[in-house]
Amino acid sequence: MWLDRQDVFSWLMMALPLAFLAALVGYPFFYGILLSLEDRPVAHPGTFVGFKNFVANAHDPVFWRVALNTFIYTGVATLLKMVGGLGLALAMNQHFRMKNLVRALLLLPFIVPTVLSTVAWLWMLDPAFSVVNRMLVALGWPRPGPSWLGNPTLAMVSIIVINTWRGLPFYGITLLAGLQTVPSELYEAASIDGAGGWERFRFITLPMLRPIILIVTLFSVIFTFADFQLVYVLTHGGPANATQLFATYAFDIAMNGGQLGLGASVALAMLPALALLIVLLTVYLRRE
């Protein structure tokens, strides 16, 4: 029967999901490119303006600030998550009681809806009643403690720390799973050859973990680079655009300013870096 042919069966089966993805991912993607070439106020028809929006971005100092912010945010947060996650994995890769419970608890920041845990941080950094400041003051810091989200530099530090807090368990638990696949004979052999703790880490653990570190990092860079929720809740990009990222800036322009075309061009500015990362990761996953 023709339906039993592998290719016929496969394409029939995949037709519906592929059509769905084409309609709600493929179409919006290309429509977004078209929008970025239009002057398109919300609820009005658009007029084609070529690259005018991109030229406008290139002359907009805020746009360059946003680009710099996004790279700093992504770079520093990724580094912290990588180093901290490795530390967490190494700490967890020992024998102790209640390990499964501890692992489950450590994953909580990663699984609880981001917006809800971020609201808790907003309250912890509240200008008047920050518990962080109250503990700092109790430890001898001069009153009233810093204004975490009101000062441009500290606001950037805060969003980086909170992103790290949320993403670190993902690194930690994934790397832990990787550590557990390293054969213990390797360590034993190295110890017999006189390798110390650092050497075992440097020459066995790290090389064995490299593929996992690479995948986890690429994965998390993509989603940190395009982060929206955390900044939207904590600072709305402020003070004075000090924590504005591509996603929040595009949202501001398109949703608050009603300029869909210009907003789409800001969002698309993420595309080159994202496309590079996505292709790298897809090819890498495929090779595995």
């Binding site: 993805l21 709600l24 994953l107 845990s117 969002a267």
Partner: protein, 281 residues
């Protein structure tokens, strides 16, 4: 040779770092919980030691449940998460099964496209999607998010299930085929029942991702009656005056509980799913 001192050392090596990570990971939740049961007189008094509760109260929870639409938001969130998870598991299976079991031209291209779509973050698409939703007159309906959440969840489920399907031995299916079963029968009666753990992993992930989604819900749902918990909490519980933190933390805590409960039952599946993509067997 293990002495008492050795034990202490061993315990320190474990619990010093692990304890540090635990305190950092859990403090915000502790703070959420105790804020939600503190009376305002404690919350906004700087002379009271803040880390413990002196006179616990449920007032904030009562206010949250009676004076805001929180229960409705919870219902909306659950409905959206369950329906979009179900849709995504079905469509994901329809992609993953042929990719895992059939040989046909273009299979690897489709697999790579699905992986790539999974990695496209929402901020790249939300502006054109908002326009599409407007044109379809779906603004302020739960349908808008039930339709758009699977754009992230279908590729994700397909990718995760593809990995799982490949680990299931083929012999049973081959035997069924020899006995004359059609491909659909083989898949439905023989193969899919073997894949329950894979569906549980993918389902939990999809469910938590739906609960976590914020950007689409923020844009598409602007009326209180259709909002989900994250959007309702951010858009309506944060108000101009200062005295709202108790209710806000009560909302954040209650909103986190469904995910936490499901996750606590299925944590092993969750960890397996989390590491499936990145750890070679």
């Amino acid at each position: 040779m293990v002495t008492g001192e050795g034990h202490i050392r061993q315990a320190l090596r474990v619990w010093l770092p692990v304890g540090f990570f635990l305190v950092v990971a859990l403090f915000p939740f502790y703070w959420m919980a105790i804020t939600s049961i503190k009376p305002n007189s404690e919350l906004y008094n700087k002379n009271v030691m803040p880390l413990i509760v002196h006179a616990p109260t449920l007032k904030h929870y009562v206010d949250l449940l009676t004076k805001s639409s929180f229960l409705l938001w919870t219902w909306n969130t659950m409905l959206v998460a369950v329906v979009s998870t179900a849709i995504s598991l079905i469509l994901g299976t329809m992609l993953a099964y042929p990719l895992a079991r059939m040989r046909f031209a273009g299979a690897s291209l489709i697999a790579m496209t699905i992986a790539a779509i999974y990695l496209v973050p929402q901020p790249l698409l939300f502006i054109p999607l908002a326009d599409v939703i407007n044109h379809l007159h779906l603004g302020n309906t739960l349908t808008s998010v039930i339709l758009t959440y699977p754009t992230m969840l279908v590729p994700f489920c397909a990718w995760l299930l593809l990995g799982y399907f490949k680990t299931v031995p083929k012999e049973l299916e081959e035997a069924a085929r020899i006995d004359g079963a059609s491909r659909v029968q083989t898949m439905w009666t023989i193969f899919l029942p073997l894949c329950t753990p894979g569906f549980i992993s993918a389902g939990i992930f999809a469910f938590t991702l739906s609960q976590n989604e914020f950007l689409y819900a923020l844009i598409f749902l602007t009326k209180s009656s259709v909002r989900t918990v994250p959007v309702g909490v951010i858009a309506e519980l944060i108000r101009g005056d200062v005295f709202y933190w108790g209710q806000l933390m009560a909302g954040a805590l209650l909103g986190s509980i469904p995910v936490a409960i499901i996750y606590s039952f299925f944590v092993e599946h969750y960890v397996a799913g989390l590491t499936a993509g990145s750890v070679k067997a």
